[in-house]
């Protein structure tokens, strides 16, 4: 029997009609409560005694237009730093996590170093790492010293690598030992087992928290401006100091959110997909 020649029963028709009415009702309720809340907010904010002053100092369209090019070129620095540092931190985190799984006495120093690294850099505030690298290392006056921007990038990679290593390690440990037994029973070496069986499953499982850390990194890359390079927030700060108006900060904030939206959307999508996979759907 196909769906077409099936005649729904009286009871089913009544249930369907009831559900349709309920849906329309829910949509109406949602729309009116949203409109009411929105109106309330607008009235409360614009009706506030200081609204005019706030609007002039935070939402001045002319100042926004003037500040935009500088803030945008600062943002370009954020984007480049984010891409390089995210790639570097993911790679470093993965390597550290794998090193920590190595067994056997020969690898003791490697394991100890890797563990010491994750403990140190997860505990150390990013700002201190940044200052140590961008101000301390050039002080050594070594030959061929990389520019401050690169040193700042290293600081970000070192700090985030520590976090990401722990996320990767959790993923590796979540792969059931029976998967290792199956791989080893086929004659795969430890390395082949890691490469073809454990890591692919581990990375899939921790993709959502990894991406979440990348979203956090996106906000922290701007801290390199403490060492000199001009990122979007620093550019906004300079513009603010020139115009005595906070609008450039709002411009930078909006741009940051716009930049984050695709990344956050990807994170949500990956999270949803992995949740579905785990529930066997």
């Amino acid at each position: 029997m196909t769906l077409l020649d099936h005649m729904p029963s009286e009871a089913q028709l009544r249930r369907a009609a009831y559900r349709r009415r309920q849906t329309v009702y829910s949509v109406l309720v949602a729309a009116s409560s949203t409109a009411a809340l929105g109106a309330l907010l607008v009235v409360a904010v614009t009706g506030a005694p200081g609204w005019d002053r706030v609007r002039r100092s935070f939402l001045d369209p002319e100042i926004a237009r003037d500040a935009l090019p500088a803030v945008l070129s600062g943002l370009w620095l954020n984007v480049r730093l984010l891409v390089c540092c995210a790639a570097g931190a993911l790679l470093l985190g993965l390597v550290i996590a794998v090193l920590r799984t190595l067994r056997g006495p020969i690898f003791f120093p490697v394991r100890a170093l890797a563990a010491g690294y994750t403990y140190t850099f997860r505990g150390l505030p990013l700002i201190i790492v940044l200052y140590l690298l961008t101000l301390g290392v050039p002080g050594l006056r070594l030959q061929g010293m990389p520019p401050v921007l690169v040193l700042g990038g290293f600081a970000l990679v070192l700090t985030y690598g520590g976090y990401l290593a722990e996320v990767f390690r959790a993923g590796i440990e979540s792969v059931h030992p029976s998967q290792l037994a199956a791989a080893r029973s086929l004659g795969l070496t430890y390395r082949q087992t890691m490469r073809h069986v454990v890591l692919p499953q581990a990375v899939r499982r921790v993709a959502p928290p990894l991406l979440n850390d990348v979203v956090a990194l996106q906000k922290d890359v701007g801290l390199v401006s403490l060492a000199g390079p001009i990122d979007a927030v620093r550019a906004a700060q300079i513009a603010t100091a020139q115009s005595f108006n906070y609008t450039p900060y709002v411009v930078a904030g909006v741009l940051f959110v716009l930049l984050a939206i695709p990344l956050i959307a990807v994170t949500d999508w990956v999270t949803l997909r992995s949740a579905r996979r785990q529930s066997g759907g």
């Binding site: 037994a181 199956a182 791989a183 086929l186 004659g187 795969l188 073809h196 069986v197 692919p200």
Partner: protein
């Protein structure tokens, strides 16, 4: 010459002795069924033979080579032994075809096309050719276990170890897996299988070993061990099996 010869195997977990002075010999083309209560050491024995667990004493010879010697490369040994687990243990992130070709490609360094052709042929032979590109979670338990057997066979093993391969299956799916093992026997595969399927053990095994507390209490032809057991503990075990309706 025997394919597998275990002598005086001993294995402890913490304070408990799990394998105790255990001897087992398997000749070429022979099928040996391990029976015994849960916890009697069947899985541990199979894992020790495949060097997944380390022995506390005794020796294991595979084709006359002492594989319990610590100087032997375990990866090389495992390539000659196929193992199938109760819970299938397929790799969930790989398709059926990738599961089967993983070892031939990475361990035996076969070309991809060659490995895939061999895998498809094996799958066709067991009626799973159409599922080659499916992922394990899209297969029934019986299909997954048959893929796991094919995966072990793709290494062309000398010896197959099967650990209660039908225990996790719904009753109506047991038959298809048992049929496959029957075919393996007909092809002359040497096998050691732990099982709770007494009827199947009687039909397919050349020898049945009854394990109790890590020792082989009784072994011999299936008609004798399952039909006229000489040991009290064997009789007791079989009585419980009969009461559970499994014989």
């Amino acid at each position: 010459m025997a394919v597998l010869r275990c002598r005086g195997l001993r294995k402890k977990f913490g304070g408990t002795v799990v394998l105790d002075q255990l001897d087992l010999t398997v000749a070429e083309h022979q099928v040996v069924a391990l029976i015994g209560a849960s916890g009697s050491g069947k899985s541990t024995l199979l894992r020790c033979v495949n060097l997944l667990d380390e022995l506390d004493d005794g020796t294991i010879e595979l084709d006359g080579e002492d594989i319990s010697d610590p100087r032997v490369d375990p990866d090389r040994v495992r390539r000659r032994i196929g193992m199938v687990f109760q819970a299938y243990n397929l790799f969930p992130h790989l398709s059926v075809l990738e599961n089967i070709t993983l070892a031939p490609r990475r361990v035996h360094r076969r070309a991809r096309a060659e490995a895939e052709a061999q895998a498809r042929e094996l799958l066709d032979r067991v009626g799973l050719g159409a599922r080659a590109d499916a992922y394990p979670d899209r297969l029934s338990g019986g299909q997954q276990q048959r893929v796991a057997i094919v995966r072990a066979l793709a290494n062309s093993p000398r010896l197959m170890l099967l650990d209660e391969v039908t225990s996790a299956l719904d009753p109506e799916l047991v038959g298809e897996v048992l049929a496959m093992i029957r075919d393996l026997k007909a092809d002359g595969m040497t096998m050691v299988l732990a099982t709770h399927e007494m009827g199947f053990a009687r039909e397919v095994a050349d020898e049945v070993c009854f394990l109790d507390a890590g020792r082989v209490v009784e072994s011999g032809p299936p008609e004798q061990v399952l039909g006229e057991p000489t040991q009290a503990r064997t009789r007791q075990f079989l009585r419980r099996i009969i009461e559970a309706g499994r014989l």
